[in-house]
């Protein structure tokens, strides 16, 4: 039997189950090594970029729509939708709000649902807006320090301290 990827002799016969498909793979040692190494590096079986590409391409989106979506940047952490699409990992908690509508079809595709029904934090759902603001301020702080704007930096530092001070203290 020949390797499904490169036509060399297949000596590895792997059965893998991800998503909707049972994968029966017949691979040569080289391709098998590559496959298994990338496969085992993450236990989260569905590869997000695969789902994304299936998800985004067949939509009625035009190239312009997609370009516009890709250029969208989270105001808190600065990640662009393009970067998310490439890496499959989001940049900060706020992305779920900021890219909410764009992520929704993906969530439905992966989970068949878009509404959490499980556990909630015991202390109740705290307002995390000020926490999110901390992410933004720390990033801004790094920028102004790089620009050697120390006056601005000390103002931001005060803001950070203030939020941290009033934050939900540990018990």
């Amino acid at each position: 039997m020949k390797c499904q990827k490169c036509q060399k002799q297949a000596t590895f016969h792997i059965t893998d189950l991800t998503g909707d498909d049972l994968l029966a793979l017949h691979l040569c040692p080289d391709c098998a090594k590559g496959y298994l190494e990338t496969g085992e590096s993450s236990e989260d079986a569905p590869v997000i970029s695969d789902v994304m590409s299936k998800q985004l391409k067949p939509l009625e989106q035009t190239a312009d729509d997609l370009r516009e979506l890709d250029a969208k940047e989270c105001p808190i952490c600065g990640i662009s939708f393009y970067e998310f699409r490439q890496g499959g990992r989001l940049g900060c908690p706020h992305d779920y709000v900021f890219f909410g509508e764009d992520l929704d079809p993906l969530l439905i595709n992966v989970h068949g649902d878009n509404q959490h029904v499980g556990k909630q934090p015991k202390r109740g759902i705290t307002d995390t807006e000020s926490q999110t603001e901390l992410i933004r301020l720390r990033r801004q702080m790094k920028e102004v320090v790089e620009q050697e704007d120390y006056e601005q930096a000390s103002q931001i530092r005060d803001q950070i301290r203030q939020i941290e001070g009033e934050g939900p203290a540990s018990e």
Partner: protein, 358 residues
């Protein structure tokens, strides 16, 4: 050094006790959690990562009722030590190989592990021997509550616990059961079983050790989705199907005993003999043969060896463990010799099978 102490004992999940432990090696639940006031890992600066690590360490060791946990600075460890933790399933390969501030907290019995700065800020894990998902959930739910009393998690009213990858959002929970299915492999029915599991949104993976060889007929069954179902539903989704898998494996074993007894006995005794007498042996071959021996014990074909000892051998014959036990760095050839020596010493022919402590 704590890791050297660990090398001499074994995690509780290897004890081979728990329900159905002839076929179910372990039950594991992990929760992905993130702090609300830091970006996810890929957008973290080095300082963010260091701050997350120190905040978690401080809050959990000083104030919470988590004094039973020991923090290990993973960034500070030698490659060999990191590999050692991977082999014990206390950290992921990703965590071992990444860069920057990161840590793992574990308890004495190695039932709990808490990875800091893996793909998410926190990856909490509980492992139990045998099939005990409810017990694992009770433990991890309590641990999660204790951690949450000290840290503010990123949580969204509609989407639940927010994670770096949208495939984990919601409960952030992965429920995994590690099953040993040698008879289904021998009778070539394993694919059929996979196919039926796949229909109900479960993921099945072979477990891989060193290199590309599937490790000793072990398969991990886990849930795929994390959003839209409660934790208890997800546990049931996996937990309900495991007895079916166990039943298939038992039937396949019965078939081998009834119809292929001579072949089976030959395979098991050869495997045992090779492990006892080899002059050098690879990790892959060891896994393969230990798998046969493990089944042989469960079927009463081997009387002088116990399941916990075999479970431990799966771990202790892996590269980093051998090197820790021998206190020296060894290349592949040297390891193959050392592995054979070690197996020889643990599987002495004269019934002296008191392999090691516990």
């Amino acid at each position: 050094m704590i890791l050297d102490d660990m090398a001499g004992r074994c995690g509780e999940w290897l004890k081979g006790c728990g329900p159905e432990s002839d076929i179910v090696m372990s039950s594991r639940i992990r929760l992905a959690r993130n702090l609300a006031d830091y970006p996810f890992i890929r957008r973290c600066t080095d300082i963010d990562r260091a701050n997350i690590e120190s905040t978690v360490r401080e809050r959990l060791t000083n104030k919470a009722k988590l004094k039973d946990l020991t923090f290990i600075d993973v960034a500070d460890l030698q490659t060999l030590d990191r590999q050692f933790l991977v082999e014990r399933q206390l950290i992921s390969r990703e965590h071992a190989n990444s860069d920057g501030a990161r840590a793992v907290a574990i308890d004495q019995q190695e039932r709990l592990s808490l990875m800091v700065n893996e793909e998410d800020h926190l990856r909490i894990q509980v492992m139990k021997s045998g099939l005990d998902l409810v017990g694992a959930w009770d433990q991890i739910n309590d641990l999660d509550d204790r951690i949450e009393s000290q840290l503010t998690y990123a949580f969204h009213p509609k989407l639940g616990y927010l994670t770096a990858c949208p495939t984990n959002v919601g409960t952030g929970m992965r429920v995994s059961v590690l099953v040993h299915l040698p008879a289904l492999v021998i009778t070539q029915q394993i694919e059929k079983v996979f196919r039926s599991l796949q229909k109900i949104n479960l993921v099945v993976r072979g477990l891989y050790g060193e290199g590309t060889q599937a490790m000793g007929d072990f398969y991990q069954v886990s849930n795929q989705i994390t959003l839209g179902k409660s934790e208890n539903d997800l546990i049931d989704q996996v937990g309900d199907v495991i007895p079916v898998v166990i039943d298939y494996e038992r039937k396949a074993r019965d078939f081998l005993i009834n119809e292929k007894q001579n072949d089976l006995f030959e395979q098991v005794s050869r495997a045992y003999g090779t492990l006892q007498n080899a002059q050098q042996i690879s990790s892959e071959e060891t896994m393969f043969l230990l798998s046969r021996v493990r089944m042989g014990i469960n079927l009463g074909l081997i009387g002088d060896l116990e399941i916990p000892e075999v479970n431990q051998l799966f771990i202790r014959t892996q590269p980093a463990h051998l090197q820790k036990l021998r206190h020296s760095e060894l290349d592949t050839d040297q390891r193959n010799v050392e592995r054979a020596n070690y197996l020889h010493s643990q599987l002495k022919l004269d019934g002296g099978s008191e392999a090691s402590n516990n």
